[in-house]
């Protein structure tokens, strides 16, 4: 637990001081909103409501890829990754700390993006906020879990900037499927069906456990 909190604290403090990760993610998300604002018909049409969840998750996923790449590139400076590998506990706690920090940073970006998205496309209501937070949180747990594991793999490769999305996106299919379906149902019908939520919970559990265990080997040279 000490290691988890230490890594979480370190990642959040360094991000607060630099803000390079969160600003890049937020700017990307807002650009996506702007681009789709021009591409989609204006007003709260049925078509917009059907497309919006997918677009929102496109923004979230690619913003997360940006952030996850950056989360490990800072560890390359001064070979700080070696310092994390030396930790005298299960290295899975390091994974949890880094994934937790990514989850917090991504969550802030997602909240601002969702607010702007809702205002620009005139979709959603106040009653949707809590269920949407739940769906986004469930999707983000899986996204940050497997993204943190693969970020640690990709950071030591030659083409790390493109390696992470190539490795990550195929594995995100269950997460994306569950998240988009649940968000679409919420926006169109005001209800969250159980089936996609169940898929998200199972995928989160699998990715969390596999990443916790696998991280020990990923940090080995």
């Amino acid at each position: 637990m000490n290691v988890f909190l230490a890594v979480l604290w370190k990642d959040l403090v360094t991000e607060w001081r630099g803000r390079d990760r969160s600003v890049a993610m937020l700017v990307f998300c807002l650009l996506v909103v702007v681009v789709f604002h021009f591409a989609l018909p204006g007003g709260a049409t049925r078509e917009t409501q059907e497309l919006a969840p997918g677009l929102l998750w496109v923004a979230y996923v690619f913003a997360a890829v940006l952030g996850l790449n950056r989360a490990f590139s800072v560890e390359l400076e001064n070979d700080a990754l070696t310092g994390l590998a030396l930790v005298p506990r299960d290295r899975g706690w390091v994974f949890l700390g880094k994934a937790g920090a990514s989850f917090v940073i991504l969550g802030i970006v997602q909240a601002i993006t969702a607010l702007v998205f809702g205002l620009v496309f005139e979709i959603g209501s106040l009653g949707d906020v809590l269920p949407l937070c739940g769906i986004v949180a469930l999707g983000s747990i899986g996204l940050c879990s497997v993204g943190t594991l693969l970020g640690a793999v990709a950071v030591r490769t030659r083409f790390r900037e493109i390696m992470l999305p190539l490795l990550l996106l195929p594995l995100l299919m269950p997460i994306l499927s569950g998240s988009v379906r649940a968000t679409t149902e919420l926006i169109l019908n005001g209800q969250v069906p159980f089936e996609p939520v169940q898929l998200l919970i199972v995928a989160d559990a699998v990715y969390l456990i596999a990443s916790f265990v696998g991280f020990d080997y990923v940090l080995d040279e």
Binding site: V13, T14, A85, P88, E221
Partner: protein, 234 residues
């Protein structure tokens, strides 16, 4: 705290087709300081990183304090100071040490960090970001980081890198303090320092031990001769 030994048996490490280590057998008794010398590319840093549990050997076995080197119980006993400083530039010197103390689960990380800063003569710059440190100051902070948990086994990879005269003397005193009470394995290019601050030495050449010098035969000229090329000595 238990005082530990390092032992390696039949250690081989390959990177693709290239072998960095080709069958190293090594025993470092408790409380001994062992210097590791060798030309660039001889396998010194690879050996140290395997003992630190950072890399797995291709074949062979390494134990630290009776545990496989990659086990977290072995890592708890090890303090590692590498080529790079392992520091976060956007954290202050004190924050870097507090972070390290938390990773090692030390009681009162702030107090531990302050003691380590005092020991390295960095108390006055405790609140400065590590990004603004000179190479020498960063190296001293890196040493403080590596030894913050008072490890039984100390691994130092060319610790004199970037140090000015005063800092080098401080490190020499530190090595003398550690001698006898800690098991130290340190990599150096300097045969004189190796002879002065060590109980034994090995010279690596192309991944093999070319010379083992015990306490009674340890002297700078013989190490220099074993190193062969004079340009490898700092």
């Amino acid at each position: 705290m238990s005082r530990s030994t390092v032992s390696a048996r039949g250690l081989v490490k390959r990177f693709g087709h290239a072998a960095a280590l080709r069958g190293i057998d090594l025993e470092v008794p408790e409380g001994t300081t062992l210097a590791v010398l060798g030309a660039n590319g001889a396998g010194k840093s690879t050996l140290l990183r395997i003992v630190a549990g950072l890399a797995r050997p291709s074949t062979g076995r390494v134990e630290v304090a009776g545990h496989p080197a990659t086990h977290h119980e072995a890592r708890r006993q090890v303090g590692y100071v590498g080529h790079a400083t392992l520091l976060y530039p956007s954290l202050t010197a004190r924050e870097n040490l507090i972070f390290a103390a938390r990773l090692y689960g030390l009681q009162d990380p702030g107090e531990c960090a302050d003691r380590a800063l005092d020991r390295e003569g960095l108390a006055e710059v405790a609140g400065r970001l590590a990004a603004g440190f000179s190479r020498g100051m960063a190296q001293r902070l890196s040493i403080a980081r590596g030894l913050i948990h008072d490890p039984a086994v100390v691994l130092l990879d060319e610790p004199y890198t970037g140090l000015d005269l005063a800092s080098a003397e401080r490190l020499a005193r530190r090595l003398s303090d550690l001698r006898g009470s800690h098991t130290v394995v340190w990599v150096t290019h300097d045969p004189e320092r190796a002879a002065r601050y060590s109980d034994a030495a090995i010279v690596l050449s192309q991944g093999r031990i070319a010379l083992r010098a015990a306490a009674e035969t340890l002297d700078a000229p013989s190490l220099e001769a074993a190193l062969g090329a004079p340009d490898t000595a700092a």
